[in-house]
Structure formats: C-alpha cells, structure tokens
Amino acid sequence: MAQLRATFWIYITAWVVVVHLVLLPALYFGMGYVIRESHEDLFIEHARTFSRVLADEFEVGVALDSQTRIEDLLDFAITHGGARYAELYEKGRSIRSLYGSSEIKTPRSSDLSFGQGGDGIYFVVRPIEHGRHHAELRLGFDEQPTQERIRLALTRMIWLLAGYLVSAIAIAIILSHRLSRPIHRLQAVSRAISSGDYTRALNVNTGIRELHELAVDLEAMRHELVGVNDRLEAKIKEKEISEVRREELQKQLRHRQRLETVGTLASGIAHEINNVLVPIILFTDTALQDLPPSWAPRANLQRVLAAARRAKDVVKKILTFSRELGDAKLALIDLREVVAEALHLFSVLVPPTVEIQTEIGESLPLVRADTTLAAHLLMNLCTNAYQAMEGAKGVLTIGLSYQGHAEAGGMSQPRVELWVRDTGRGMDSATVERIFEPFFTTRSVGQGAGLGLSVVHGIVESFGASITVESKLGVGTTFRIFFPSTARLEAIEDFAVSVV
C-alpha cells in the first residue's frame, strides 16, 4: 500500500490542529466547569449572606409585629438585595412584597440548589425565632444575571481559545516553513548532485544543530564525490589521451611498415634492373667502340646507352630511398653551413616570383649527418617547395631551431629542427599520407619521376632523424626534420661503451 506523504508544513500543521481539537474541548469543559462553579458559589454566598442579614433585621425589636416594617424589609430585599421574591411566612399569615414577580410560586422546599426547579429562581428559606414568633423568611433570588455572566464568560473563553488555535496554527505553519527551508536547500543541492552537477556547495545557514551537522556531513560527502569524480575524469582523460597517442603511434608504425615494404620491393627491383643494365651498357658501349664513326645507327646506340645511364640514376635514387645509402659518412656537422650552401645553389634556380627567407635560431648544436646528403636533402625539399608555388608569387622559408626539451615519443629529447615552408598549393591528407612513397607524384607526366621525397625520406632515415609534413590546401606545406641532438647521442654512446 502506498504511503501518503504530505509536505513538511502540512504535516506539522495537521498535527497541531489534531492535537488542539482534542485538547481544546477538554480545556473548554474544564475551564467552563471552574467558571460556572465560581459564579454559582458567589451567587449562593450572596443569597445566603443577604438572607441571614435580613433575617437578623426581623429579629430586631418588634419588627415582626409591625406589618409596615415587614413589608419595608421585604421590599428592600427586592429593590436592593437582588431578590425577585420575598415572603415572610408565619403560621396563619403570609406577607409578600408587592415588588416581587407575582407569577413566582412558593418553593416546594427550602434551600434548593442553583439552577434547580427550572424556574430560574434560587430560593433561600430562613427560620426566624423571636419571642413568640416562629416565622420563615422566604427569599427567591434571580439566577438569570449569574447565568448571563457565566454564558458571557464561556463565550469569551471560546473566542480566546479560537484565537489561540489560530495563533497556534499560524505559528506551526511559520515554524515548519522555517524548518523546511534548509531541508529544501539540501534537497535542491542533492538533486543537482545526483543529476551530475557536483560543483554546487551544500551551504546551509541554519540555527538547528542537527540540520547544520547534516549539511556539513553532506558537504563532506559531496567533496569526496567531487574528488572521486575529478579523479575518474582525469583517469578517463588520461586514457583517452593515451588512446589517441597509441593510435598515432600505430598510424606511424603502419606508415613506416608500408614504407619499409615498398623499400624492400624497390630494393629487389633495383637489384634486378642493375643486373639487366650491365649487359646493356657493356654491349652497347663496346659496339659503339667497334662500329665505324660514319655508321648511321650509331646515334641510336648512343641513345640506348644514355637511356641505360638514366635508368641507372633512377635505380640509384630508389636505392637511396630504401636506405641503400652506401656513401653516407655520418659526422658531426653544422646545419647552418648546409643551409648556406643550399641557398647559394638554390638562389640561381628559383624564379624571381619566389622570395626566399631564412629563420636561423641561435646556439645550434652540431648534428650527426652527412654534409653532401644533407644538402641533397635540403635541395630536394626546396625544389619541391618552389614547384608547389610554380606560376605564382610565394615565400619559401628555411628555418633552423634548437629544442632543448621537445616532446618526442612521450619522452623529452633535445633535438634540432630543420624546416622548409612554402606558401604553395598545399596537399590533401591522402597525398600527405603517401608523399614519401617512391614514384608517388602529383605532377604531370614528364615533370619528374616522383622520387624526390622518397629520397628525402631515405636520407633522413640514414641520419637517424625523423620527418613530418604539415599541409593545408591553398595555404602551403611545411616539412620538418628533427635531428636528435648530439648531446643525447653522446650520452647513448657513453652508455653503450660502459655496457661493453
């Protein structure tokens, strides 16, 4: 069965009303009894005292023998004693005051109690013994005024109690509202917390110690929850970051594996072609030596030889890509010299529409590389850059900088960065993805074999360096090459030596 639940103030108010509905009638009847009793007592006391005093007057002198005196005293009882009936009775005679009510009958018995008889009259009968007289003074007092006073007092008490009830209900309502206000605040905040908003503090200003302590306890709980929540969030964030990082690494690994596969294939093909080129070059060359100079087809043979030599160059480039860098002699070199040399050569080649800028950082450490290959690499990147800006104005920037605490592979590693930036066409992400593969080119047929950047990649690998590309269509491309700083290399070598 569902339990009925009322709001706090209705609950309290209902209880107050119920309690008063039980208590107030009891109070009313109790108080009514006391009031009635006291009024009746006062009335009876007055009636008896008055009748005794009057009876004493009859016993003075010869009052009982004077008809006039008797009537005066009886009239006095009516006019000044509050009686409505006054009679002196003696065997054989009865004198009644003419001021009294004529319809009131002689009481059945003497000394009746208040309210009895139903006639609204209280009778007092007093014997008068004086000389030979044995008389009775019979007085009837009007109960009406006393009854009126009692009714009035009871009516006043009802009003008083009603006022009290209203005040009690009002106080109950106000008090319960005051009590429930901090509870409502607690409720609002805990609802906010349960709906996920942990930032709202449980700040309840109340004079009630229990509520204050409850608020403090809940605030402590919220604080703990916020802490738990923050830790959880941090953990989730950390996980997300590591997930992203892992994906990035996997992507790099896949990319590298593809390059290596392509490199392996290219290397195998290069070997085959080199073998094929041997007889072509040797037989053609010796044939040309043997044939007379005037022989017309000589020119054709010379073209065969030239084509074979071009093929040899292409193969050499493929082998460069697949790390067949036979001639690489790694030594500590100053990249600034490489840049200067490349600029010297390159300034002759570029059209005047391309502006060349340099941004060379200060205090650059030496890096382990090969001067000729590094220059070759830079020339390839520059050629690529200015071809991307062909037919338009553009800026080619070559930069060098030292990064003492660069983040690389999750660990801090000092490195030297060499970068080449153009303001050319830019590339889409699909192109960027494949840019280092041999024979991958965006240029039209005849403009290049698409080996330039695969050669760049091969050279970079042979230096133990790494290369990245950032490109945006219509904005330009930046190639960045990161050389491990020699300080670190030396540390590794020292370590290797100490291990050996």
Binding site: T264, G268, H271, N274, N275, V276, L282, R323, E324, L325
Partner: protein, 135 residues
Amino acid sequence: MQHILVVDDEPDVRDSVKYVLDRAGYSVRTAESAVDALAELARNPTDLVITDIIMPQINGVEAIESIRRAFPSVRIIAISGGGNFGVTDYQPSAITTTAYLASAEKAGANLVLTKPFETFELIQSVEQVLGVGHA
C-alpha cells in the same frame, strides 16, 4: 695472358663482362655458381675471379672466403647491384650495397665494384687489381 673467371648467376652479366674482357685481351672463362667456380679454379690456373655477391645457394661472400682459403694467390673483384636476397630475408641493417661490398672486402676481395658499371670502369678495375704491366 692472364686468366679471369667471371662468376654470376645472370647469363647476360656473365657474357657481357666476358665479352668486354675478351676484347681487352684477357683469357676469360665463366661459372654460374660458386660451386662451379671452385671446381673451375681447381681445374685451371686463374689470376682473377670477378664474382657477384648475391647468388643462390652459396653467396658471393662465402665464395670469396672459400677461394681465399683454397687459392690464396688468386685476386678477387666483387660486384653487386645492391638490393637484397629476397623479401623474406629482409634485414634492415644488412641490405645496403655498401654493406655487401664491405663484407666482401672483409672476406678478402681486392676490390669492389657497384653494378651497373661502365666498360672503362671494369677494365680499369681489372688492371688495377692485376697490376698494370702484367698483361
């Protein structure tokens, strides 16, 4: 007349090298494998062996080592076109032409030559190894 043995699994390479050296006045024989070459060396006096490095079964480096042990006076030129033994044998650290030729030199080759080479490079190399005037 000096005797030269050309060892290569590629017939065209063998024949073209033999042709050039024949023309230059040397007595040239050929072998298509390291096993054949060792048998040929045992049969006939030889001054110079020109051997490929990447060959099936016994590769050139092993062949050079065997020749050095059995015929210490024979001079050797190693030739290679780079590449690798095969995709399955892929070893990133040992696939460069330089690495092959370096190991050939270490095994005892007097000179190494990268394929493809020009006629004059071949003749000059042979003359250098045999010593000019011995012809």
